[in-house]
Every structure is written in structure tokens, then in C-alpha cells.
Amino acid sequence: MTRRRTIVTAAILAGALGLTACGTNRNEGAGTGGGSSCDTSKGTLVIGMVAPLSGSLSALGLGMRNSTKLAVDQANQKCTVKGYKIDFQPEDDQATAQIAGQAATKLSSDPNVVGVVGTLNSSTAQTVAPILDAKKIVMVSPANTNPTLTLGQAATTAPARPFKTYFRVATTDLVQGPFGAQYLIQKAGKKNIAVINDGKTYGAGLAATFSAEATKLGAKVVAQERVGEKDTDFSGVIAKIRPLNPDAVYYGGEYPVAGPLSAQLAGAGLNIPLMGGDGIVDKQFVALGGRVGDLATNVGAPADQLPSAATFISDYKAANFAEEFSAYGVLTYDAANVIINGLATAVGTGTFDDSKRQALIDAVQATKLDGASGAVAFDQYGDTTNKVLTVYGVKGDNFAPIETGTFSGS
């Protein structure tokens, strides 16, 4: 093979890489439909969604899609927004920032799109938020936990809100990482912790806040390693941390890596628990190799222990969705309702046009919602004021809640 041909091949290959990622699956999902008798004479407004509906994180994304669909259908039945029918338009981002950007551009080019629920990943939100912000489209994420999305690059030292239209109902890694560290060190008594992350916005951020708190609490972070989000072979990392005798591994990232990583830890004779954040809280984690005793933190309280979520759970069951609502269902349902209620306030009995977008942003900012996850309100950065988190542990073939608490600084 001549060198020129190598270059040509490489160029073609790079092009093909881009192309593989282009398929979007428009999928409306089953639902109750809007067979109601509301006045919809003023037209249709669209609530969009950007979330991974296919790919390795689709278990979470499909739960988000269904939960939003449920909220929209209920709003249409209850005539929440006077004179308008609300349409729901989910877009697949395959957990990839570039595809998420395309989805956001597509949504923002539609003048009827008023708000977007999503994204799941912090890395995709970094692409989506600026696009929607430029068009003054409200975005409410049920799952982004990276602090910089609301607090800017200097999140801890000089917080400055980068996007006026960006809100989230999930607590951030500034809270989640330390919350996990407090449990792992103070309650589970671990002292030598190996920290591994996947290098993505979410994983690296979570690993950093965890490590800082762990060190502060007197534990030793024996290793800081990074793996690729598409890796399946972790023997190198494991051989590296094994001689350091860690008594726990903290992983910043998501379950497609965390599951096999946990299995391979055990495979190398390291029978120590793996702990992670909300990104690993899914049944798939266990199916892919997560072991009994593995731990995770998640934002919010477990759905079945929240009296406020009972209605959501029974409504979700009644709607007969093919997929479970998964880790973010409750928060997604609240995120959708934040937009719907804001819209109802902003529109009132008038009509919606571009001049109402600011009113919608203001209405969302002033949200006081008695949501499925509890009280929903936002601080001046667009972060939720609800700092409830839960520690989960693997029992049988799924995560079960261990304890719920409110994070109280460190």
C-alpha cells in the first residue's frame, strides 16, 4: 500500500465515520393521543426533545421520551394551554454531541417549537444549549449534571450563567460527587479508592468532584484513570490499579462501560464494589456485568418511595408504554410540565408569537411546581433548588434504594 493510498483511505474512512452517525429515528411512541374537546383554534405549539432514543443509552432516553409524551398528552386533555394543541417532537441524539447539535438546529428552525426537554448527557447539552439559547427556546433537562452548564466555566469560583434559557431539574455533580464520596467513605468505610472516568463532560466532572470530597474526608485516591466510552477491554486499567490495593472503585461515566468494568474487576480478583453516579443507575448495568454490592447515587428520590410520584407511576402504567420510565422518568415528567405550565402562564388567553418567548423564560424561571419529584423551583442560575439524592445498591438484577438524603454542603 503506498503512502498516498493510505492518506486517501484515511480520508474516506473519516468521511464514513461521519456518515454512520447520521441516521435519525423519528419515533413518536405509543400514547393516549389528544382525543379531547379542547379549543385548539389558535394552532399547534411544539415541545421538542433531544435524547438518545437509540444507541447504548436508549434505555434511559426512551423512558424520557415516554414520560414527556405522557405529560404532553395530559396537558392536551386538560386544555392546559388555552387555544393551542401541543405536539411532541422527540429527536434522537444517539448520545453524540454532533447529532444532538443537528437535532437542536432542526428543532430551533421550526417557529412552533417553544421548548425542549433534554438532553440526557451533559456533553450533548453543551452543544444543544447554545443553539436553543440563540433562538430563545426554553430547555429543561432532567438529567444533565455537569455544573458548567448553569454556572459557567468557573463554576466553583466565579459562577456566571451562560444560557438564559437553560434550566435543569437534576442536581449537579457539585452535589452528586461529594454526596457519593460521603456515603462511600463515611458509611461504607472505604479508604483507598481508585477513580476511573470516561473523559466525557459528565464522567470527568463527576470524578473530579468525587475525588476532591473524598480527599477532604481523609480517604486516599490511589489512582485516577481514564477509559474510552466505547472500550470493552479494561484489563490494562485494572492491572494498573490492582497493585495499589484499592478497596473501592469510583467510576464517572455510564453503564455501558461501568457494567463490563465491574465484571472485569471481579474477573481480575478485585472483589471490591464499584460506585458511580446517576449514569449507571439502570437495570442494564447489572445485565452487562454489574455485581451485587455495587453502588450508585442518583438525583432525586426513588419514584416508588415518593408519594408525589404515585400518580405519575400509575398514569405511566395506564398509558402502556413499551419501555420502562427508567432512571429519569419522574424528573423528565416534571421537566415537561415546567415547560407546559410556563407556556400556559406566558400565553394566558392570548396568542403565542416570538415576543412571548421572553415571557415563557420568565415564567419558567418563576416556576413553583408541585411535581412528581417534589417541589420544583429554580435558583438564579437555572439550577433546581431541590438537592435530594439517593444512594442505590445492586440487589438481585437491579438497583434498589439504600438511603435518600439532602446534600448539606461539605
Partner: protein
């Protein structure tokens, strides 16, 4: 520490023999038809899914926990699916382009790769996300009591032994058998080989089938080792395998195995000892590739490119 070094060497050899096994398919096809078959990684992937389908839907439950039954059945199923897809690919995509400018089959290969990946994604149940793969060999880990202990999973040993045995068998086949001689003849000069009575179509189909069988076996062993399969696995491992084939000298069977092992070792040892750690272990693979190609453009065992009509 010595035990860490030895563990990493073992990790490198395990990954390397898998990569080498896939690289054989790249190198053989290139040797015969001068085509970089970028869809070969996907052949590896469909083999794994074929085995998984066999296990999930066809294998009687009674046999699932008995590896000495399940393993051979799965290996055969995986190899069979891969061979079928590889032969169909040759027949439908590459044969009509025989004689076309070289870029045409190359682009076709990329298209086949995307098509196969998407086909599995769309048609295999739940393949949009990573799927768990069953344990198909003695479960557990042997920990060699040396220093801190050197863990080796039994399924990793299986992968190394099977890969190297298959590579050896393939080498003997090509060196010794009549069909192997026909392959070497076609690789050397297709026109003269044809004059000597070799049917090039048969040789080419055989080459794709052999490469497919090895990749299918590799897919099953990979699934059994890591207990997870996803539709990207072919692409990622295919790139390494292609790199291994180039590093070892594309067209050379020994080169593919040596290149695979070299890449495995560079990744494992680079992740341990070189700056950047495991975050940069992929980088070192390509650094080594570039350095080798600067001084030896034909790779370790490759012959310098012949000018061909």
C-alpha cells in the same frame, strides 16, 4: 513492579491475539485481490451476534450451562454466520467490481460496513444498545501466585490458544495444501495462475470464507471474554486489526499475528508506563505504526509493493 509488568504483558497478548485473528482476514483478502476490505470488522461483529442468536433462541436450555457443548456449537454458529455474510458480500458487492478501479471496491467496502452495522442495529432485537453475552467457557480467574498475583481469566486463555492454533492451521493450509498453493499463486500473479488452471473465483471465495470463519470465531471468543457485544465492536477492533495487518506487512499471515501481538503489547504497556496513562494508550499504537512505516514502509514481514498492471 514485576507482577504488574507480567499482568500487562498477558493483557497485551490476549488483546493482541484477538486483533491478530481479525487481521488475518484483512491480510489474506489484500494478498489475493489487493482490496482493503473495511467491512471485515463487521464480519467479526455479525459472527458475535450470530453466536448470541444461537445461544438465545436456538440452543436448548439444558445445554446452555455446559460449556463443552455450548462452546463448540457457538463457535460453529458464529463462524457459519460470518462465512455466509463474507461470501455473500464478495458475491454481491465485490465481484461485480472486479476489474474496476481500486477506489470503487474500497468505497464499496465502507458502504458494506455501514450497511452491515445498520442491518444488525435494525433487525437484531434490542441491538441498539450493548447486549450481554453469555459465559461460554470455564468461568472465573486463575491467579498466578507471583508478587501481587497475576490474574488470567480462563476465557482469555481460551482466546489466546484458539487464536494462535487457528493462525498456525491457516499458515499450514496456505503453505502446504493444494488450495493454499492456488491461493499463493493467485496472490503472486492472477493471470499466470489462471493460465495454470487455477480458478480465481474459487480462490477468492475461499479467501473470504476463511477470513470470515476466523473473524466469526473471534467474535464468539470476544463475546465470551468481555460478556458484552455491541454493534460498534467491529469498527473499533477492525481498525486495530487493519493497523496490525499494515504493521506486520499486509499480505503476510505471520505479519498479521505479529502485528496484532505488537499492538496488544503497545496498548497494554503504553497504558501502564508511558505518559498519559490509559487515556492515551490508543495514541501509542499509531505512534508505533508511523515509526515502523517510516523505516519499513512494507511492515515487518511485507514485501515491497510490486508494480502491477
Amino acid at each position: 513492579m514485576l507482577s504488574t509488568l507480567l499482568s500487562q504483558i498477558i493483557n497485551g497478548l490476549v488483546l493482541g491475539s484477538l486483533i491478530g485473528l481479525i487481521a488475518l482476514g484483512y491480510t489474506m483478502v489484500y494478498g489475493i485481490v489487493q482490496l482493503i476490505n473495511f467491512a471485515h470488522g463487521e464480519i467479526f461483529m455479525v459472527g458475535a451476534y450470530g453466536g448470541l442468536a444461537m445461544f438465545s433462541y436456538l440452543l436448548p436450555t439444558a445445554l446452555k450451562n455446559q460449556w463443552y457443548f455450548a462452546l463448540p456449537i457457538l463457535l460453529i454458529a458464529g463462524a457459519a454466520v460470518s462465512v455466509l455474510v463474507a461470501v455473500a458480500m464478495e458475491r454481491l458487492a465485490y465481484r461485480p467490481l472486479r476489474g474496476a478501479p481500486r477506489l470503487a471496491p474500497l468505497i464499496t467496502a465502507l458502504g458494506v460496513s455501514v450497511a452491515l452495522q445498520e442491518a444488525v442495529r435494525v433487525f437484531y432485537p434490542n441491538a441498539t444498545a450493548a447486549l450481554p453475552f453469555p459465559n461460554i467457557f470455564v468461568p472465573g480467574t486463575l491467579i498466578i501466585p507471583f508478587g501481587d498475583g497475576i490474574p488470567i481469566r480462563y476465557s482469555a486463555m481460551l482466546l489466546v490458544v484458539v487464536s494462535l492454533a487457528l493462525a498456525f492451521a491457516l499458515n499450514s493450509f496456505v503453505e502446504r495444501s493444494r488450495m493454499g498453493r492456488a491461493m499463493r499463486a493467485t496472490a503472486q500473479d492472477p493471470d499466470v495462475a489462471r493460465l495454470m488452471g487455477v480458478d480465481p473465483d474459487r480462490v477468492i471465495v475461499l479467501t473470504f470464507a476463511l477470513g470470515g470463519a476466523l473473524a466469526g470465531v473471534g467474535g464468539i471468543l470476544y463475546g465470551g471474554l468481555y460478556n458484552t457485544v455491541n454493534i460498534d465492536m467491529g469498527f473499533q477492533n477492525g481498525i486495530f486489526a487493519f493497523t496490525a495487518a499494515v504493521l506486520g506487512g499486509i499480505g503476510s499471515i505471520r505479519g498479521a499475528i505479529v502485528g496484532g501481538l505488537a499492538i496488544g503489547l503497545v496498548k497494554a504497556l503504553g497504558g501502564q508506563y508511558l505518559p498519559g496513562g490509559t487515556a492515551y494508550d490508543y495514541v501509542w499504537i499509531f505512534v508505533v505504526l508511523i515509526v515502523v512505516l517510516v523505516f519499513r514502509p512494507q511492515g515487518f514481514f511485507g514485501e515491497t509493493e510490486r508494480v502491477r498492471a
